[in-house]
Amino acid sequence: MDLGPYLLFASLEGLVHAAVLSLIALGLSLVFGVMRIVNVAHGEFFMLGAILTWWVSNFVMGNPALGFLIALLIVPLVVGIIAMFSDLLILRHLKYDPEVTIIATIGILYIIQQFALMTFGPDARPVEQPFNIRLDLYWFGFSAYKFFVIFSAIILLFCVWLVMAKTKFGLILRATQLDSEIAQAFGIPISTVYSLVFGVGAAIAAVGAVLIVPIQQAHYLMGGEPLLLAFIVVIIGGLGSLKGTVVAAMLIGISDGIISVFFSPNLAKILATLLVVVVLLIRPNGLFRTIRI
């Protein structure tokens, strides 16, 4: 393949990757920013989203687009509620102690993963694409659905920004993020906010899963790699920074696409991890983080 189309293909692949990654990382970053806890189970909420999408799409007969739309509405809600329950039942009782919550979320990770193995089984299961259109770009073909994934992620990111910047709920979140004690003194119900944020964080990852599963299949072990990449993105972008997360996701996603295509996927992972080390050394708070923890 010639260099031009080669680069175009690599960038498109990278964009799809970046779109989904930015959603997953955004959820992780939101939870850390507001609650100051590291959610190791985040990847499993993503996996849960994919598996529930498979259930829904199997349950809804007829046009795959219908099943997909219903999944897009229901699945993030269900995953969000499950996450809220795990906050209410477990994390709240640990008083959000940073070290203890890491251990607790590792526990949640295994519970969700094994539950998925016991119910969903060990196989990868496909979900039909809502529309099956192949765009012929002369040098290579590209699925129209992948463009839809990129487009949907952009819209969703814009919505999150809108909520954070322009609504009262966003104001409450930002206040809690800046100083939870002062926020509480102003009458903000911190524990409710925490539960909601934990739910919303998981739900955003679940949206990413609904979008990706028609491309990648649902599998009970699929939560591992996105978690690792989301951590990389969040560390590079700065924990709790929306802008940083999106920029870092683009950087990691697109460079992963290009390096994978031109060289090898392993090299892409190596370089991403190296970038984390460099960022931690030079800008320990991330590229975009201005608020001190």
């Binding site: 080669y6 692949e13 990868a124 496909p126 099956n132 491309i215 299949q217 392993n266």
Partner: protein, 428 residues
């Protein structure tokens, strides 16, 4: 748990316990194990990929094994003793594979171990089988048995190996599809067998391998590898394994549409995949190697009919209870045939218990011709006792209107290559 129990039992209590067990054994009417041994079951330790990247194969290897055991037990078992399967999940992981063998030998007193498919698990487990002196019948296709890498306790009598398969494919690819081939294969032992032995066989035929594209078997998206396939590729030789094979072929179709090179694939790339899945239409007209044709063919034998029916597979290669649950038909016959070979070996050696394990191996080593029969529904085979490897017919099918139709059957002789080892010279 163990620690707590240990701590609570004093030595005196333990002695009392042992004494009471002794007295029960001495009581009249208590039938000890040794007296009942003649009718006690023969235990087959079944190393099964229930989880991990081999799960789809594991599910069907299990069903085939259960079906074969039922057939054997219904017809009187082995030397009058029934077969009992002790299944252990190895997670398609070499380390857990070795642990499973340990359990078979030391906890369950299994007579033999059997059933492993994935080559890295076989390579990780076989040395332990040798140490445990546990006959280990693998159903893996890897060339590692016949290459001499393993040991006298490891045998592969029920399924042919990659080296013989690809060697028999090379002339067909060159004569019917093209001379410039790019290979896409999984980046571990099994894939390396394809890389090494197909390229050698193809180049000796006058063909040319213009690029080799290895892909990690745990990969979940594949598009990024496809630009590495040179544009002047005439034939794309693909073989992929793992849970994401459907994604692999779908993305291949997205990338090339109908404009790509000709395709020659090992069925592994679509094993357990429903070929009517949207997005796979581009495969029409492409060729596949199959160990055993998934779709019942026009010349279907009575033996295949019998076997298909016993395992519960319909004429499209899917489960009779769920047409979407597609079998790993090209591979799983190996479990059926291997169990029948174990039966024959035990009967011929007069196997009576663990002490006769060496006799069993010698009996299997002395086997040669295995004619097409209910015990060998895939086809006739010739077993090489020196290399512990069986040789048999290979099938090439062409995807025609969504079904795989037989296009060519190789002879057994097409798959022969010179011996690389003589395991019979190794001591037990």
């Amino acid at each position: 748990m163990k620690k707590i129990i240990k701590a609570n039992i004093s030595r005196r209590k333990l002695m009392k316990g042992i004494a009471s067990v002794g007295s029960i054994v001495a009581m009249p009417g208590f039938v000890s194990y040794s007296q009942a041994a003649s009718s006690s079951p023969i235990k087959i330790g079944f190393q099964v990929h229930r989880t991990g990247i081999g799960a789809a194969y594991g599910r069907w290897y299990d069903r085939t094994t259960q079906a074969a055991v039922k057939i054997i037990n219904d017809s009187g078992g082995i030397n009058g003793r029934p077969l009992e399967i002790i299944a252990e999940d190895d997670g398609t992981d070499p380390k857990r594979g070795a642990e499973a063998l340990e359990k078979f030998a030391n906890q369950h007193d299994c007579d033999v171990a059997f059933g492993t498919l994935f080559s890295h698990v076989v390579i990780g487990s076989a040395p332990r089988a040798g140490e445990l002196k546990l006959p280990y019948f693998v159903v893996s296709e890897g060339h590692h048995v016949a290459s001499g890498m393993l040991n006298r306790y490891t045998l592969q009598p029920g399924i042919t190996d990659v080296k013989s398969q690809v060697q028999a494919m090379a002339p067909f690819v060159k004569d019917n599809l093209g001379k410039k081939v790019t290979m896409v294969y999984p980046d571990f032992a099994f894939g390396h067998d394809h890389r090494d032995y197909f390229s050698a066989a193809f180049e000796s035929q006058g063909g040319q391998i213009i690029a080799k594209v290895p892909i990690p078997p745990t990969e979940s998206s594949f598009s990024k590898y496809f630009p590495k396939i040179p544009r002047d590729t005439e034939v794309l030789y693909h073989v992929m394994v793992g849970p994401a094979v459907l994604t692999f072929v779908k993305e291949l179709g997205e990338f090339y549409g109908s404009k790509g090179p000709k395709l020659f694939g090992f069925i592994d790339s679509v094993e357990a995949v429903d070929l009517s899945t949207p997005g796979l239409e581009f495969l029409d007209g492409s060729y596949f190697w199959e160990g055993n044709p998934r779709y019942a063919q026009a010349n279907q034998t009575d033996h295949d009919k019998f076997y298909r029916n016993a395992v519960g597979v319909d004429s499209n290669g899917a489960s009779v209870s769920d047409p979407k649950d597609v079998s790993t038909y090209a591979h799983m016959f190996g479990c059926w045939e291997t169990l029948h070979i174990i039966k024959k070996g035990m009967e011929e050696s007069g196997y009576s218990g663990i002490k006769d394990r060496a006799k069993l191996i010698e009996a299997v080593e002395s086997m040669t011709s295995m004619p097409l029969s209910k015990a060998h529904p895939q086809g006739a085979k010739i077993f090489n006792g020196k290399t512990h490897q069986t040789f048999g017919h290979q099938y090439i099918t062409k995807m025609t209107n969504g079904k795989l139709v037989l296009a060519h059957t190789t002879s057994i002789e097409d798959t022969f290559y010179p011996d690389e080892v003589d395991y019979t010279k190794q001591s037990f």
